[in-house]
Amino acid sequence: MRRIAVTVNGERHEAEVEPRDLLVYFLREGLGLTGTVVGCDTSSCGSCTVLVDGESVKSCTVLAVQADGREVTTIEGLATNGRLHPVQQAFHEAHALQCGFCTPGMVLASVSLLAENPSPSDEEIRHALEGNLCRCTGYQNIVKAVKAASAA
């Protein structure tokens, strides 16, 4: 076991973890933050996307020990003072989610994109989300939502 200290959604957590513990299970089962979900076992679907030091990563392909000393943002930490983040709000308004399972990862990948590229074209949005699979929406309203959030 190793001791790690990770700041998650602004709050510092210290924990004993096994080296093999994946960040996603540390968040889900260690901290009870079940908004980050697991959709595959090959880093393909992006459902487990969180921000580490502000950048999108797939938390199923990061060991909890690799997050030691880092700042992690999950979907639970995105709204502030009860107000949805502009990307969350745009997803709601554009009907960019159906079953909602890919949504936390899709939202965080979009937040990471807009941090790097505040006014992306539709084409840039589509490529920035190439690592996040959605089976419900056909992505059209997701692209629309990210575009709307970029203008917000």
């Binding site: 949805l84 989610l97 159906q98 589509r126 190439e130 996040n132 699979l133 089976r135 992505y139």
Partner: protein
């Protein structure tokens, strides 16, 4: 842009933003794997790595030694726990062969992924570690994956108690079929492959089972589309009273048919929870799901069209050979039959001849996948119509126009009745939107210029049957369930309304759509409508969500329950206002008396019905109504889709340029949600046409065994669709609605592949098998050019 209406009034038809979204957007959703119970243990299933193998010995002892392990069982250990086989509810003929299907195999593994043992441990990782330690001696047997090969003489027998691998032969034929085909001047015959698909709901399956010994009560939380059907059949499989089992579908992350089943792990978890006296959780890993969750399609299709020289279509003949996989799953046998009536497409034909053979293979069982039988039917007829157009040197548009059904209701050659439609209107609108003539000009220019990227324009016009009903027809078809659904409205004294629905959403937005129906009909503020679903302890009546039935059946049940609320309210209001019920006018739940300022609402009536201080003599207190709706006919959406794409004739790469979908789906409750359904359906159909394919090797191993090798398209592979609708409201239900959940997946594979073939027609190409991956396009060009 979606809007939220604040005032009561007309809600049906409005693009209301979804009530479901807030929790899903903030991580407050609760999928099965998010749930934890005290004392919970984790299960891991040991699966056969062989497609076909005799199980000689299973030893769980080494696993029992592993850290954290609580128990481990072989298939033989649990063999006495099953009162019946895992069910198939649609044995399509009287003599359909349904072999025993136990949750864990005992004698043979019949597909790679068939469960042979289960290990339970304190943590997920410990269960996984220990499962690797279970020792199994297998005697590998030859595999057979292709359904046609499985029918051949000497093919390996999947079930040795059967004489061959045939499960059933199902046929439907009009008396005139042979005459029409022998006399028709033109007959085209085509052969197509419907590749195996993996549904890929983004939430993997999962279950959590609890058993309370003192109460002899079971609870199962499952990522399922069908809590009600599951409860019934699990009670049968386990041999327990249905009343002792509660099934809950919490938030469910997509299904597309893959969660329309009674799965081994659902039965296993209940039995293990009973044996251990501890809650048991099992969560599918994605690569495990690729083996253990039902696949779709896997058909060989032969279709013949009989026509006159002028393009008049006279008859359709179809022969299907369909892989069932190793066992019959819940509706596996019936899935291809769901297409059996619509291989004639949107066309007026006189003769019909359909036959389907269901075949066991050593592969993962197939079952419903979005569209279930109807994408296959639409693909075959629409590809064949293009083949006929080439044969007759007609424009594919003109050939379709010449043959459309134009009068409704229409009894089609296969025997069912299409209630309403507008095929001409849909096609005309689609061609206008896409600028068909302009595209044909551009295509001609590019052909003339020898452009390295050739333009293809593909059409698919379709009709389909969804919202399976009426129940008595389903009975004739040997379907073991009814086609009805139920809704209950309970008006609470403070003005809020509880709605209990028998459908079980997993992304479709029922909470919003059904709130709109109630808000519209009863004048209840939409935020005061609570919609409850997916739990057999809160809504006992229901037949769940599949086959585009939820609005066309469940929504209509709700609408008619609202009628009953209005009726009773009217009696309460008339009594309070001391007028005759006949003097009351009602709109959106508000009652008025002409020529006076007297008015009361359903909410007012609810309070009076609750206090019961002053009700008409003999009236039951409370304001609550249930309606069980059994539709008089199937639901018949239709439409026209056009795909436009470019094919790189050197590399075989395909780039989508436009996609226009004009659907006829009757009246619309929430256009935003409907658009979303079409978007998702078309995306899945494009996936089938261009990307997705479950491939097995000679030994029966799934070589596309993860999301790396099975290609679910991302945003980068897809484009914005252009949608429109024409309307021919269904005359068979008071809302005039139809199903829409599957239309996109039904029309799009045909449209896309017709476009690919159209792009390459000048090179002699007549077929590109799905998925049209670059190599297939390249080979088609080489072979076409050689002709």
């Amino acid at each position: 842009m979606a809007v939220t209406e604040e005032k009561a009034g007309a809600w049906i038809g409005k693009p209301v933003a979804r009530k479901e979204d807030a929790k899903l957007l903030t991580g407050q959703s609760r999928y099965v794997d998010d749930l934890t119970l005290p004392g919970m243990v984790f299960a891991a299933v040991v699966r056969s790595p062989f497609a076909h193998a005799r199980i000689k010995r299973v030893d769980v002892a080494p696993a029992l030694e592993s850290e954290g392990v609580v128990a481990a069982f072989t298939g033989a250990d649990l063999a006495e726990d099953w009162a019946a086989t895992l069910p198939c509810v649609w044995l399509v003929t009287e003599d359909t062969k349904q072999p025993m299907h136990r949750p864990l195999a005992t004698d043979k593994a019949r597909y790679a992924g068939d469960g042979v043992a289960v290990v339970l441990a304190e943590t997920r990782a410990q269960a996984k570690d220990a499962a690797e330690l279970v020792e199994v001696d297998y005697e590998p047997l030859p595999a057979v994956i292709d359904p046609e090969e499985a029918l051949a003489e000497g093919a390996p027998l999947v079930h040795e108690e059967l004489e061959d691998n045939r499960s059933y032969t199902w046929a439907l034929k009009t008396d005139n079929a042979d005459d029409v085909f022998s006399s028709a001047p033109v007959v085209v015959k085509e052969r197509y492959r419907q590749q195996r698909l993996i549904p890929n709901a983004i939430e993997p399956r999962g279950v959590l089972a609890q058993y309370l010994p003192a109460q002899d009560e079971y609870t199962l939380w499952s990522a399922t589309q069908i809590p009600h059907i599951l409860r019934f059949w699990l009670a049968v499989t386990l041999g327990i009273p249905e009343a002792r089992l509660r099934v809950v579908a919490p938030d469910v992350g997509g299904g597309f048919g893959s969660k329309l089943n009674v799965y081994a792990e659902e039965a296993l978890a209940l039995v293990l929870a009973r044996r251990l006296g501890r809650p048991v959780k099992w969560t599918e890993e994605r690569s495990e799901g690729y083996l253990a969750t039902s696949h779709g399609r896997d058909q060989w299709q032969e279709i013949e069209l009989a026509a006159d020289e002028d393009g008049t279509l006279r008859g359709v003949r179809v022969r299907l050979t369909v892989g069932m996989g190793a066992y019959l799953q819940l509706v596996g046998a019936g899935t291809p039959i769901l297409g059996a009536w619509v291989y004639g497409g949107a066309y007026d034909i006189e003769a019909y001849d359909f036959e389907c053979v269901g075949v066991f293979t050593t592969a993962t069982p197939t079952d419903a996948y979005r569209g279930a039988g109807r994408p296959e039917a639409t693909y075959a007829i629409e590809r064949a119509m293009d083949a006929l157009a080439r044969r007759l040197d007609m424009d594919p548009v003109e050939l379709r126009r010449k043959n459309f059904i134009t009068e409704f209701p229409k009894t089609i050659a296969s025997g069912l009745e299409i209630d309403s439609g507008d095929f001409h209107g849909a096609l005309d609108r689609a061609l206008e939107l896409v600028d068909y003539e302009g595209l044909r000009r551009e295509q001609a220019e590019r052909r003339a210029a020898g452009d390295g990227k050739q333009l293809g324009i593909g059409l698919a016009t379709y009709t389909e049957m969804c919202g399976l009903a009426p129940s008595r027809i389903l009975g004739v078809l040997l379907y073991a369930a009814g086609g009805w659904d139920a809704a209950t409205i309970r008006c609470l004294p403070t003005g809020s309304v509880q709605v209990f629905i028998g459908t079980s959403p997993h992304g479709q937005g029922h909470v919003t759509t059904f709130s709109q129906i109630v808000a519209d009909r009863l004048g209840i503020p939409i935020e005061q409508v609570e919609v409850l679903h997916g739990d057999t302890s809160t809504m006992q009546l229901g037949l769940d969500t599949y086959g585009s039935r939820s609005l066309a059946v469940g929504g209509v049940a709700l609408y008619k329950a609202a009628d009953k609320i209005v009726e009773k309210s009217k009696a309460v209001v008339a009594h309070k206002l001391e007028v005759s019920p006949d003097d009351l006018q009602e709109e959106h739940g508000r009652f008025t008396v002409a020529g006076t300022d007297k008015a009361m609402t359903v909410q007012d009536a609810a309070l009076h019905a609750f206090t019961a201080h002053d009700l008409p003599d003999g009236m039951e207190p409370g304001l609550e109504a249930t309606f069980v709706y059994d539709p008089p006919n199937f639901s018949w959406p239709g439409g026209a889709h056009v795909a436009v794409l470019e094919v790189d004739t050197e590399t075989g790469e395909i780039e989508l340029r436009r996609y226009v979908a004009v659907d006829e789906i009757g009246n619309v409750v929430n256009p935003t949600i409907v658009d979303g359904q079409v978007h998702g359906g078309v995306a899945q159909g494009i996936g089938q046409a261009l990307f997705e394919e479950a491939i097995y090797d000679e030994e029966g191993n799934l070589t596309t065994g993860s999301m790396v090798s099975y290609l679910v398209p991302s945003a980068a592979e897809l484009i914005d669709l252009e949608l429109d609708r024409v309307s021919a409201p269904s005359p068979t239900n008071p809302m005039g609605v139809k199903g829409v959940g599957e239309t996109g997946a039904i029309a799009s594979p045909a449209a896309v592949i017709n476009a690919v073939v159209d792009a390459l027609a000048q090179f002699g190409v007549t077929d590109v098998e799905m998925p049209a991956k670059p190599e297939r396009v390249w080979r088609a060009l080489q072979e076409g050019g050689a002709r």
